[in-house]
C-alpha cells in the first residue's frame, strides 16, 4: 500500500466519527463526508509530511483525492 499509516489514520478517524464502516478503495470520500474542502487541506498536509512530498497547489482538487484508489494513483504518479 502506498498510502502511509498517518493518512489512513486521518481518514479512518473521520470515518469512525461519522459511523462509516471500513473504507473501500473506490468509495467516494466526499460523498461519505470523510473529506470535505477543509478536511482535504488538512489531509494533504498529513500526506506531505508523511510522504515527504510537496503537492503543488494546482494538484489540490477533489478528483485527485476522491477515493483511496485515486489518492494512491496520485501518489504513485507523484513519486514516479
Amino acid at each position: 500500500m502506498l498510502l502511509p499509516k498517518e493518512a489512513h489514520d486521518f481518514l479512518n478517524e473521520n470515518a469512525r466519527r461519522l459511523g462509516v464502516p471500513a473504507l473501500q478503495p473506490t468509495e467516494d470520500l466526499f460523498a461519505l463526508g470523510v473529506l470535505d474542502s477543509f478536511a482535504l487541506v488538512d489531509f494533504i498536509g498529513v500526506l506531505e509530511q508523511a510522504c515527504n512530498i510537496r503537492v503543488p497547489d494546482s494538484d489540490v482538487s477533489v478528483p485527485n483525492f476522491q477515493t483511496l484508489e485515486t489518492i494512491e494513483g496520485y501518489l504513485e504518479k507523484h513519486r514516479g
Binding site: 474542502s37 477543509f38 482535504l40 487541506v41 488538512d42 494533504i44 498536509g45 497547489d57 494546482s58 489540490v60 482538487s61 477533489v62
Partner: protein, 323 residues
C-alpha cells in the same frame, strides 16, 4: 456601513437554508445591505470622510486616490471619479483597481510605493462594494448569496507617523489566472459580448463561485503567502500579534490560523464576519478599523493581513503598530 441589517432569519428561507446552516458554514449572523439605488461611490466617499476626520485631515490634504471595488457605479468611467467629486477632493489623480477581495492589499502596496517614490504625499485608499444588488436570492445560488454584505472602508497612507498609525512593512501578492472561471461575474465584458450578454443565461450574469475550488486554493495559497512574507522579513509566526484577514468565511479563517500554527485562543484573529458578512474589497479595512478602535493594539505589534480573491489573486501584508 449601510443602515439596513439583513439577518440570517430574513435571508435563509429565500435561499432554502436555515439560519443555523448559514452560521455554521460561514460564521455570519447578519450583514448590511444598501437601499436600492445606492451607488458604491456614495459608501466609499462616506468612509473616506470619516477616515479624514479621524486622521485630523481634510480633503485638500489628499493628493492621490486609489479606489478598490469590484462593483463600480458604472462600467465606464471608473468610479474613483465619482468618489473624488463626492468626497470633495482636489483635481488629483484618481484610479480604480479591480483586484477583488485583495483590493486592500493591492491598494496598500501601490499607495506605499507612491509615497516612497514621492509621487504623492498622502494617498487615500478607498475600498467599497455594493454586492447585494447582484445577488441571486434563490436556492440555486445559496452558497454565494449567503455570504455577501455591502460596506466601505478607507485608509490614509502617508509618510508621517500619526496617532494610531501602522507602518506598512511589506506586501506580497500573487495571481494564477487558471482559475478565472471559479469565482466572478461574467457580464458585462467583451469576452461574452459587450453590453447585454448574447449567449449567457440570466444565472450566468450573476456572481458565481466554485466553493470547493475557492476553499482549497485559498487555504493553501494564503498560508504559503504568509509564510513566505514572514520568512523574507526574518519573522516567525510567534512574533505576529494580530491576523487581520479579508473576511471571507470563518471556517477559512480558522483553517489559515491552524495552518500557520497561530494560537487562536489569544483572540488575535480579527473577525467581523458575524455582524457584517463578507464585504469583499472593504472587509480588511473594516477589520483593521475594528482592531484599532478596540484599543488593543500596542506599539510594536506586528499585524499579518492575508487575502484571497477572484482571479485567483492572493497575498498578505505585514504591518507594525506605531501607536
Amino acid at each position: 456601513m449601510p443602515e439596513r441589517v439583513v439577518t440570517n432569519d430574513e435571508l435563509a428561507p429565500k435561499l432554502g437554508l436555515t439560519s443555523e446552516q448559514i452560521l455554521r458554514s460561514s460564521g455570519i449572523l447578519r450583514r448590511r445591505w444598501v437601499e436600492p439605488g445606492t451607488a458604491t461611490s456614495s459608501l466609499a466617499s462616506a468612509a473616506l470622510r470619516l477616515a479624514l476626520d479621524d486622521a485630523g485631515l481634510d480633503s485638500g490634504n489628499i493628493d492621490y486616490l486609489i479606489f478598490g471595488t469590484m462593483t463600480p457605479d458604472r462600467f465606464i468611467p471608473g468610479s474613483a471619479s465619482a468618489v473624488q467629486k463626492k468626497a470633495g477632493l482636489r483635481h488629483i489623480p484618481c484610479v480604480d483597481i479591480r483586484a477583488t477581495c485583495c483590493n486592500a492589499l493591492y491598494g496598500l502596496q501601490l499607495a506605499a510605493a507612491l509615497v516612497k517614490s514621492r509621487t504623492a504625499k498622502r494617498v487615500a485608499v478607498c475600498l467599497a462594494d455594493v454586492q447585494s444588488v447582484w445577488l441571486d436570492l434563490s436556492p440555486a445560488a445559496a452558497n454565494i448569496s449567503m455570504l455577501f454584505g455591502d460596506g466601505a472602508s478607507a485608509l490614509i497612507v502617508g509618510g508621517e507617523e500619526r496617532e494610531s498609525s501602522v507602518e506598512i512593512v511589506d506586501v506580497l501578492l500573487a495571481t494564477d489566472g487558471a482559475y478565472v472561471d471559479d469565482l466572478g461575474l461574467r457580464s458585462p465584458g467583451t469576452e461574452f459580448g459587450a453590453g447585454v450578454a448574447r449567449d449567457l443565461t440570466p444565472e450566468q450574469c450573476r456572481p458565481h463561485m466554485k466553493g470547493q475550488s475557492v476553499i482549497l486554493q485559498a487555504s493553501r495559497r494564503i498560508a504559503s503567502a504568509c509564510r513566505e512574507l514572514l520568512q523574507r522579513n526574518n519573522l516567525g509566526i510567534e512574533q505576529v500579534r494580530w491576523i487581520v484577514p479579508h473576511q471571507a468565511n470563518s471556517n477559512l479563517l480558522a483553517q489559515v490560523a491552524r495552518a500557520l500554527n497561530f494560537p487562536v485562543e489569544t483572540g488575535g484573529v480579527i473577525s467581523i464576519l458575524e455582524n457584517f458578512g463578507n464585504t469583499s474589497s472593504a472587509s480588511m479595512g473594516m477589520a483593521l478599523d475594528n482592531l484599532r478602535r478596540s484599543q488593543r493594539l500596542q506599539p510594536g505589534d506586528y499585524l499579518l493581513l492575508p487575502g484571497f480573491g477572484a482571479g485567483f489573486t492572493w497575498g498578505a501584508g505585514l504591518c507594525r503598530s506605531l501607536v
